[in-house]
């Protein structure tokens, strides 16, 4: 069987599709998988060796012809005709349109295939959506509780967790901080002045031997200007100008990437590098964040980036590889930012777990909060362990080594509860999956309710896991 996947948006969207494309190859190993992307992203080809053939849509050429009044309209028409003729020689059995816009629907509908999935144009010239998972993409952004990669994965029938895998080996990371400050959208750009305020404390701590700005070759001058404007005395910032493939190698060789909303974060999601994502302007990290566990996402409460109250991530926090335990992050200040961390479970559920509301609270108060979260009411309204509240009180006032050990012992007993809550998450996911996959009409209010429950359970499970780890670490450090 020959299958064509269509992705006609930008580079980041293609990279977000990688887990689903990998799944298609795993689920249908004998089928041929082709991909249609815009010609200006031709350079992504080496990163997708598992795709049998990549076709390039001549979008820019067609647009140039159409916008040039001296070129006859038929020139664009002929080029499109030739392109479609070539593509249709492949005799596809299935076309999956992963792009949710009108142009891609028009293109997909012009490709001959026995079966079509995703947004299409029907015989009455009306847009229609084939496949329940693709219906979800048509929901307003505020009501869409899924990451795009997650929707794509479910749409191709993937049951579990599949992070993107890019070619090449994970190398030993050097002490290097990578910055990706450039984005194609001005509203997602953070000024050099703000970068200076933020980078100053990090570089002052001398955690990283090197700091580099990652830039595409055409951004070289922009990067030079950026570094001049940052003007950090006593600290040199280098420029690493490279193509996408080299960027992947550089990311693998570095310890931390601080990035705005660009394709680079999706590339980094396929590596082990620690990531801090600055979700500015119209960035919707809940839908398009780096599809990986443990990414720190800092978004601004308003749509514009905060200009004051710059966040400060401590040395201890970074040294612990960002989020190995919440205890070390309690001393971080997030300023006006909203901080969350991504959580990707084994069942393939991705969510952003909010960190702190009150950033000035002491470590003990933070632990107290997690303790409460640990023993939240279960679905029947019963407390999972009411005696734990006594421990919370003790924790807040006084904490002796023996109490820590006692607490750790009690928590170890509660680990089973964590596992049970994880099982509940899995069963709810299965329920939603069958709801969406099997029914012809999807009841979205039901899906919304499910999603809220799942969000709550996932947060609880995550709090439990992290809290247990934190307490255990404290106990181990006791004299």
């Amino acid at each position: 069987m020959k299958r064509l996947a269509v992705s006609l948006l930008r580079l980041g969207d293609i990279l977000m599709l990688v887990p689903a494309l990998q799944s298609l190859k795993v689920i249908h190993p004998d089928d041929e998988l082709h991909l249609l992307i815009n010609e200006n992203f031709k350079h992504i080809e080496p990163l997708l060796p598992f795709i049998d053939k990549i076709h390039f849509f001549p979008r820019e050429v067609l647009q140039q012809d159409l916008s040039d009044s001296d070129t006859p309209i038929l020139a664009a028409f002929d080029k499109l005709d030739h392109f479609l003729e070539d593509l249709n020689r492949n005799n596809y059995q299935e076309v999956i349109n992963f792009t949710h816009n009108t142009l891609s629907a028009c293109v997909s509908s012009l490709i001959k295939a026995d079966r079509r999935v995703g947004l299409q144009v029907d015989a009455q010239d009306q847009l229609m959506i084939q496949g329940n998972w693709f219906q979800i993409l048509n929901q307003p952004a505020s009501k869409m509780p899924w990451h795009f990669s997650e929707v794509y994965l479910k749409a191709v029938g993937e049951e579990g967790y599949r992070p993107p895998i890019f070619p090449g080996e994970n190398q030993r990371a050097e002490s290097r901080l990578l910055l990706q400050p450039f984005t194609s959208e001005d509203r997602k750009f953070w000024s050099p002045d703000n970068w200076r305020k933020y980078l100053g404390p990090i570089l002052k701590d001398n955690i990283f031997k090197q700091c580099e700005v990652l830039a595409a070759p055409f951004e070289k001058e922009k990067a030079e200007r950026f570094i001049q404007e940052i003007n950090l005395q006593n600290h040199s910032i280098g420029i690493y100008c490279c193509h996408l493939e080299e960027a992947l190698v550089r990311i693998r060789q570095s310890q931390l990437l601080i990035t705005v909303d660009t394709s680079i974060k999706h590339l980094a999601a396929g590596t082990r590098i620690s990531i801090i994502e600055l979700a500015l302007g119209g960035s919707r990290a809940e839908h398009t964040g780096a599809f990986r566990d443990n990414v720190l996402v800092l978004s601004s409460p308003e749509n514009s980036p905060p200009t004051q109250g710059v966040f400060h991530v401590t040395k201890g926090y970074l040294k612990n590889h960002l989020l190995t335990d919440l205890g070390s992050s309690a001393s971080c200040e997030w300023g006006e930012w909203r901080a969350s961390v991504s959580c990707l479970t084994d069942s393939g559920s991705w969510t952003l777990v909010p960190l702190y509301d009150n950033q000035k609270e002491s470590v003990l108060d933070e632990l107290g909060n997690y303790m409460e979260a640990c023993f939240l009411q279960d679905e029947q309204g019963k407390y999972l362990g009411s005696s734990a509240f006594n421990c919370v009180e003790t924790l807040k006032t006084h904490l002796s080594p023996s109490q820590w050990k006692d607490l750790a012992r009690q928590l170890a007993e509660k680990e089973k509860d964590c596992e049970e809550s994880l099982d509940r998450i899995r069963s709810m996911r299965t329920q939603i999956r069958s709801e969406i996959s099997e029914s012809s009409v999807v009841d979205y209010s039901k899906v919304q309710t499910f999603s809220k429950c799942i969000g709550k359970l996932k947060r609880k499970q995550e709090y439990n896991r992290r809290f247990l780890r934190t307490v255990k670490l404290h106990v181990m450090e006791m004299p």
Binding site: F77, L80, N101, I129, N138, A141
Partner: protein
């Protein structure tokens, strides 16, 4: 920038008229689909491309 926009709008109008004429003379054929796709390519340049909202009419 304004000139470019005007140019695109006039091209879109021209293409639209060609599509209508083709529908009147030959009916709704594959050629019409192709012209409609080209219209969409121009509309995108006019700033109408949006991942979430571009298909709002189907809701």
């Amino acid at each position: 920038m304004k000139d470019k926009r005007k140019e695109l709008e006039s091209e879109l109008k021209r293409l639209n008229e060609s599509t209508k004429r083709l529908i009147q003379t030959r009916g709704y054929t594959k050629e019409v689909d192709k012209l409609k796709m080209l219209e969409e390519l121009i509309r995108e340049q006019l700033g109408n491309e949006n991942f979430i909202c571009s298909t709002s009419t189907t809701r």
